[in-house]
Symmetry: C2
Subunit: 472 residues, 2 copies
């Protein structure tokens, strides 16, 4: 028997060892607190058991697919969102006009190291907003010597030495792997993608290749928005896979005269109007006060935007669905907002905030999920006062692994509401380790989503909305 017990202990001790944070941290519990804890528990049970958020995401990725603003996918996504919101008992579901979005279209995109045959083929993709190479899809493209730089300082030095004009500039500074949060690594490498073409163009470069903003070494080029700022000269810009960036860099050391042939057919075709999709659930006590949860409905075109930001959209819908099914009657009015065009200018966020201002709407809370579907770790706010307001809910949320309450920004879309009264802006903090493996690449597909991790995020949003709403 001793042996049996030892073995049993061995086989299943993991269960005990790993329960970790899942202990009650509630203060001496009043009946009311117990009731609140039970409602939160019910939200998680519904989410994890029925996984309706994950099913929504499967539907979005398979039935809509990629949905850059102004694309046919964008229109399909809006119709999809209305349909899905109408399946829930919202008091109203409506569209909000979002004008002046760029209609940028991708075309041919090929690149190769000249003289290397098939081995020289490079995995590239145009950065969002880039001009094409001369003649576009049918042109001969650009062929020029490549010059590698790590940053704008090095660019300036090389330009002064006459080594930038007429060349293709290869921005190849990797994400710094020593950051614990990959978002910081991304942020600190992002200037190359955003402003690389603008800076290199000033010095007479003819195009730029930018190392993909990922910590993975693989063959998938990552896209993302870039800007020419007020530059008068616009040169083409493409992302290159990290694997190919490493290869190019190594070849360039052996062959400093290495030339690259680049053809991009992308172009800007004016603008379009898109729409925020809003579902409204009226409050019973203070309906004039609004609590919002949202993500952005647009995505890049290479994958199906499962992580960025399909996950945030379905988590937001599911969060209100969970609350509705729990039987809770909200005190304040709750809205899910699926924002148009985050990726190409934040137009949706600005249109929503402008509308709120013009209607004198009172937002008390806005939560955004746009950091992927990793296991939620907590919430991020914009200032210490907001963090303290959230931390009072920690006794209810810690059993679900929500232990991190930080000051570090909230979300891109909701940030336009900043300064409208006392609105508390909150971002869901998801585990970041895998996010940039997929982000803005063909890898951003449903296969990258773990259903339970996604649902834990949805339940976290629902729990925070509920606790905030019941708080005096």
């Amino acid at each position: 028997m001793e042996r049996k017990n030892l073995i049993l202990a061995g086989a299943f001790v993991w269960a005990a060892a790993a329960t970790g944070w899942a202990q009650s941290t509630l203060p001496q519990d009043s009946a009311r607190q117990q009731q609140k804890a039970q409602l939160v528990r019910g939200l998680y049970t519904d989410a994890l058991t029925h996984q309706q958020g994950y099913r929504l995401l499967e539907s979005l990725c398979s039935e809509v697919g990629p949905r850059p603003v102004c694309s046919s996918g964008d229109a399909r996504a809006i119709a999809w969102a209305v349909r899905k919101l109408e399946e829930l008992p919202f008091d109203s579901v409506y569209l909000q006009e979002v004008p002046d979005n760029p209609r940028w279209v991708r075309g041919v995109e090929t690149a190769s190291a000249v003289g290397y045959g098939k081995k020289g083929a490079l995995n590239v993709t145009a950065l969002g907003g880039s001009v094409g190479t001369p003649g576009g899809n049918k042109g001969a493209g650009i062929r020029a010597e490549l010059v590698e730089v790590q940053n704008f300082q090095e660019l300036d030095v090389l330009a002064a030495a006459g080594k930038i004009a007429g060349r293709i500039v290869f921005f190849n500074r990797p994400l710094d792997p020593s950051y614990i949060n990959t978002g910081s690594a991304y942020g600190n490498a992002g200037d190359q993608r955003w402003a690389g073409a603008q800076e290199a163009g000033k010095h007479g470069a003819v195009a730029v290749l930018v190392r993909s903003l990922t910590l993975r070494t693989d063959d998938f080029p990552h896209t993302g928005a870039m800007s020419y700022g007020d530059a008068s000269v616009k040169i083409p810009a493409a992302g290159i896979s990290t694997q190919d960036a490493n290869w190019l860099s190594s070849e360039l050391k052996k062959n400093p005269g290495l030339r690259v042939q680049l053809t991009l057919g992308c172009e800007m075709l004016g603008t379009c109007t898109s729409y925020n999709v809003v579902g409204e659930w009226r409050g019973t006590g203070n309906p004039e006060q609004i609590a919002l949860v949202g993500g952005h409905l647009d995505s890049w075109d290479l994958g199906t935007g499962a992580q960025d930001d399909g996950a945030g959209c379905v988590q937001s819908i599911q969060a209100l669905g969970l609350l509705m099914r729990s039987g809770y009657r909200p005190n304040r009015t709750h809205r899910v907002v699926l924002y148009a065009n985050e990726e190409f200018g934040l137009n949706g966020g600005r249109a929503y905030a402008a509308s709120a201002l013009s209607r004198s709407e009172v937002h008390v809370l806005a939560i955004e999920s746009d950091g992927g579907s990793g296991t939620p770790r907590g919430f991020s706010t914009e200032n210490a006062a907001a963090r303290e307001r959230l931390e009072q809910f920690k006794p209810f949320l810690a059993p679900y692994g929500l232990l991190a309450y930080s000051v570090g920004g909230s979300g891109a879309d909701i940030s336009a509401l900043r300064g409208q009264g006392d609105v508390v802006l909150v971002g869901l903090s998801a585990d970041s380790q895998r996010y940039f493996d997929y982000h803005h690449s063909a890898q951003d597909r449903i296969e990258s989503i773990h259903p339970r991790e996604l649902e834990l995020g949805a339940a976290a949003l629902a729990a925070l909305l509920y606790l905030f709403d019941t708080n005096p």
Copy 2:
């Protein structure tokens, strides 16, 4: 410019929003505290930048592969471990004899629903320790009616009604998805696998099929240890994939007379001696005091044991490697212990503890990593006093996302040290959401490992060892 700034904010706000917990929580910092914080930072930078732990795991999975105790893989793993430890500046690397391990071998394993043709084929695998069906690999197997139960209470009721004798019992209680920590779901479903055959055999059943202990619905059967206890009748036991379990359950409702054909060639072939592999790094101040970090070197045979427990082994090796490369000279003696035979009886853990006792060794700390390679969340201990000792390090560890300090057990292998002096027993708490997707199945391969998540675990172990060692 406003537009540019807005767009920039949009593109990279994620970085800020998601930094989350990564803020300094150090108290007013003395120079000594700053120095300690810097050493910890260095451990993480080394781990994340060079990923030597991940390389070790690639080597273990590809060069050794599956390594059940007493198998040829077990011997290869021991030789591999000695080689890898000898590449680091340990003062000594040695083997510790672990006698009397079961030499259980798998054979043919096929099952099908009779009369369903190819559609009736079932994905099954023998549970570890099971007897084979009559005649083993060359026998005709067992063909009998199937009866589904959820638990032992239902089994008893059906037995009393004469519905168990002569039948194959199908234990089909799923893991409860509402648990936040999947280890708890696993623990609460584990009795079916562990004791299902023992209980069903008492009532005259001829075999058992056990629903795989995973929250995924897929085609991979999961194995794991089972026991006949003191039962005189031993009946064969196999795990069945969750997909096939669902199908069988649904067919059984339509066709209550459904029969299953099961052939298992597994058998027990006596015992063998295996070995714990130990690397010892002598302390400079109090070398008689020992701090231990470890995992188990044996694995199941269906995959390559990347998660269970290759991850824990390489994290333990890497933890001491990180400390060695940091230039730190330990006060106490540090050991990495790669335990033999966790899966089939905890013999390695017991042999280590017995040796420590007989030599009057003084263990002050033992840390185990055996919960997979998910992002580390914190540490689990066995009592409140131990938790408090660890929580004093939180200011140094919180910037790395180590926020959960709980009382909930430590680890199977180290648990045999319990009661030897004041040893603090600690388990690394890793994010559990994906662990049972792979556990004990063919899915437990290197492809399931995320290099950064694995390395964060190794650095967490190193940081805790360091902080504990520098603490008076």
